[in-house]
Subunit: 99 residues, 5 copies
């Protein structure tokens, strides 16, 4: 999985019918110093993540291991909203500190 920050959203009317009702988030990948990396990802959201939150994103067939998404053509999914990231016993990120 990768650590990412929610940047925004993508909307679409004309799409695969199985994608109706899916929320698409634009994610910015975060490196292990907490800095934004180049590149982004569009992922299906099933955990209710909002803009600026840090999340875990799973890629590939893992993105379909979410109840109801088994046969959806998605290759990335937000699977968790992150509470804390600790690196070398140092707290890199804490959701509580953001609010």
């Amino acid at each position: 999985m990768q650590i990412a920050r929610v940047l925004g959203t993508v909307t679409s009317t004309q799409k695969e019918p199985s994608l109706r009702g899916i929320k698409f988030l634009v994610l910015q990948l975060i490196d292990d110093d907490g800095r934004p990396m180049s590149g982004y990802e569009v992922a299906a959201d099933s955990v209710g993540a909002g803009v600026d939150e840090w999340v875990l994103v799973s890629h590939g067939s893992a993105a379909r291991q979410v109840p109801g998404s088994e046969q959806r053509p998605v290759d990335a999914a937000v699977v968790a909203i992150i509470d804390t990231v600790s690196i070398e016993n140092r707290l890199l990120y804490s959701k509580r500190d953001q609010y």
Copy 2:
């Protein structure tokens, strides 16, 4: 998923029989500032996307989660035509503005 713009098409007569009738689009990946990225992708189209439209492309086994494509040897598929992309509450792209 990645955001991409439809650049063109690929045609082929001699191919895996299961690929007959599939439209192959050449896609240019778009970064989160709306600029073209280096690299491209050839993807199967099932949503009727046309040249210059912005689309969502799914890679890997997700590309076969489209009715009728379950057993086709495709590793990328256009799964949605994008209406809007919003980044940090700013509208990066709107299909309506293009026409």
Copy 3:
């Protein structure tokens, strides 16, 4: 899928038994200006592609969606010989012009 040109072949005697009879092609990936990209791929061929032809190559589990290859340990397959590539309404490649 990626566009590639057939560069050569790989032969092997000592291999997974399920790979007997499979032709392995060395492919050079081609960018969307028709220029060779760095990097290469070895792919199973099921469409009879020859050296210098432009082909479509599928990666990952898609490579096993070819009759007879469902249980072969291949992660790339040539699935089509390309007739034409059109980019922005310009003909980038035409097989007919090569001969």
Copy 4:
């Protein structure tokens, strides 16, 4: 698989229900000279790896070939704690030497 060193942990309360009880490790990939590579990975742990240990990490659908994880949306898993890495008959790493 890649060789990685355990850097830290990620915690999350709000997540896919199937991820409850999974320990998420932050991993730093190691190159074949034993040096840290740029980039990191968050992986599910099933072997009880601790900070600073060298491990093998598997990506993609392989990460779900762990008893109990078959239907979890994880795309990376620590599958082994490394005892030794030998390169060109030289011992690059030995777990025993670390303690």
Copy 5:
């Protein structure tokens, strides 16, 4: 598939039980001029490859299409020992010439 040279081995005692008895090889990827590329791979071996031999390595779910490995958490496997690599009708590598 990629062409690689066998560099060394990884050993592990504490691992997923399904990985017992699997030999892990450290592989150096080789480019299409026969030169070592940066980066490496750890792959399960099922064909008895030895140090310095050139092999074909398959990634992803293909690595589990080897009898007995269907449910092992491996994402790369050596599937063939290479006899020859021919590029543009030139013999880039011949196993026979190495001994």
